[in-house]
């Protein structure tokens, strides 16, 4: 079954002809060539594919493209200002060395922004709990947690570290 899907991606209206089974991650990567959204697993566990759907973090590998019809999607490409000024969460990942190979990073930054939005004043423990659906094979998470904490709750970041 072929379906026309129109949705807003990073503020711009986009359309594509997809199969019913096409996943949102496939629509973004294969049809719209927005390859910043990564796919790291087949089991909805790694979080590399996290984007915002109407402002909330979701795993784009586990929603049909057609289910995003008429809705608004933000991907990692849409986070910075048009002039290149980084989003505070991107800036924090740079500052706190929240990445090594970068494969998990788009999902981590999108999830980090969602965590900070929902939990102002978050503790380190809460940030770690909220990151349970995002897997990083490189960093050991310390820099990622500090980056997210520095946005959600700047006072909680240990100054002696990094």
């Amino acid at each position: 079954m072929t379906i026309d899907v129109t949705l807003k991606v990073n503020g711009v209206e986009r359309s594509a002809k997809v199969e019913a089974r096409t996943l949102l991650a496939e629509l973004l990567r294969d049809h719209l060539k927005l390859t910043g959204t990564h796919v790291g697993c087949d089991t909805t566990q790694c979080g590399c594919c996290v984007v915002h759907l109407d402002g909330k973090a979701i795993k784009s590998c586990t929603i049909l493209a057609v289910q995003a019809k008429g809705r608004s999607v933000t991907t990692i490409e849409g986070l910075a200002q048009p002039d290149g000024t980084l989003h505070p969460m991107q800036e924090a990942f740079r500052e706190h060395h929240g990445l090594q190979c970068g494969f998990c990073t788009p999902g981590m930054v999108m999830m980090g922004a969602d965590i900070a939005r929902r939990n102002p004043g978050a503790t380190e423990e809460l940030v770690r709990h909220e990151l349970e659906g995002n897997i990083c094979r490189c960093t050991g998470y310390q820099g990622i947690v500090e980056a997210i904490l520095s946005v959600a709750n700047p006072d909680a970041v240990r100054k002696d570290h990094h």
Partner: protein, 265 residues
């Protein structure tokens, strides 16, 4: 994933009709269980009927002495709900501990209960709180709902529309999480209403169940000591590469005692 025909239902009745008219149709709610299953080709439905467009299936309200949660309400909304936090805080804790934030932004209470995954959290809450499942055609007592591994009392074309949780005097939920998946190795919900006690368990058996010997003992003497000497029968409980049935039986007792202790504080 095999392709299928997609239908966005606008109301419950049209969803049921689409299901009946399809060769081998499936309902999709949050898709957090169904879509991974399709991706792994463990199922290949001819049609997917999406409940996501039915606004009347979303929302949380107090009705009489119950908290009523409509079927398409996502875990994140139950976890963050002021109504649930005030009336049954243990249920907000349960919902807020399911999966991860992205899963909680899509997964629904109706999907979780309809699925009867042995390791899912909500079924333990249904048993421990004595909830009632409301469908398009009848109400089903939670005690009669879960029949076995991924098996419920639902007819093939029957939809859950809401779940009614009676408000207890007190309740507490503890899950012993699988360290990798986050699902419940064992989860226990203990509630107290008047003189009545309920002990609901998930994760340990093929489906959620109650531990009536614990309930009887706790109704006489509500303290961890009252159930310390009562063994849970490991016969028929789940065994996998990580945890044996005997281990799970033991953890049921440990978590039940911790719940009781937490409620005595």
């Amino acid at each position: 994933m095999r392709d299928f025909d997609y239908h966005l239902a606008t109301d419950v009745q049209s969803a049921i009709e689409a299901l009946r008219n399809s060769e081998e149709g499936k309902i999709v709610a949050g898709g957090m269980t169904l879509l991974p299953t399709l991706k792994q080709r463990l199922a290949a439905p001819s049609d997917l009927i999406d409940l996501g467009g039915i606004d009347t299936l979303r929302g949380i309200a107090i009705e009489g002495k119950d908290v009523v949660i409509r079927a398409m309400t996502i875990h994140a909304d139950v976890g963050a709900s002021d109504v649930v936090k005030k009336a049954i805080p243990a249920l907000a804790v349960l919902a807020g501990g399911i999966g991860d934030p992205a899963v909680r932004h899509r997964g629904t209470i109706g999907g979780s209960i309809a699925n009867s995954d042995p390791a899912a959290d909500y079924p333990g809450g249904v048993m421990g709180l004595g909830a009632t499942i409301v469908t398009d055609r009848r109400t089903i007592a939670g005690d009669d709902f879960f029949l076995g591994l991924f098996e419920t009392a639902l007819e093939p074309d029957e939809l859950i529309t809401s779940v009614r949780f009676p408000i207890p005097d007190q309740a507490h939920y503890i899950k012993f999480k699988h360290p990798a998946s986050g699902y419940a190795v064992v989860g226990v919900m203990v509630s107290r209403t008047g003189g009545k006690v309920r002990v609901g368990v998930t994760g340990a058996g093929p489906c959620a169940f109650r531990v009536t010997p614990f309930e009887t003992a706790l109704e006489k003497n509500f303290s961890p000591d009252a159930i310390a000497a009562i063994a849970v029968d490991a016969d028929g409980l789940n065994t996998d590469v990580n945890f044996s049935a005997e281990y799970r039986a033991h953890i049921v007792g440990v978590l039940a005692r911790r719940c009781v202790a937490a409620l005595m504080d």
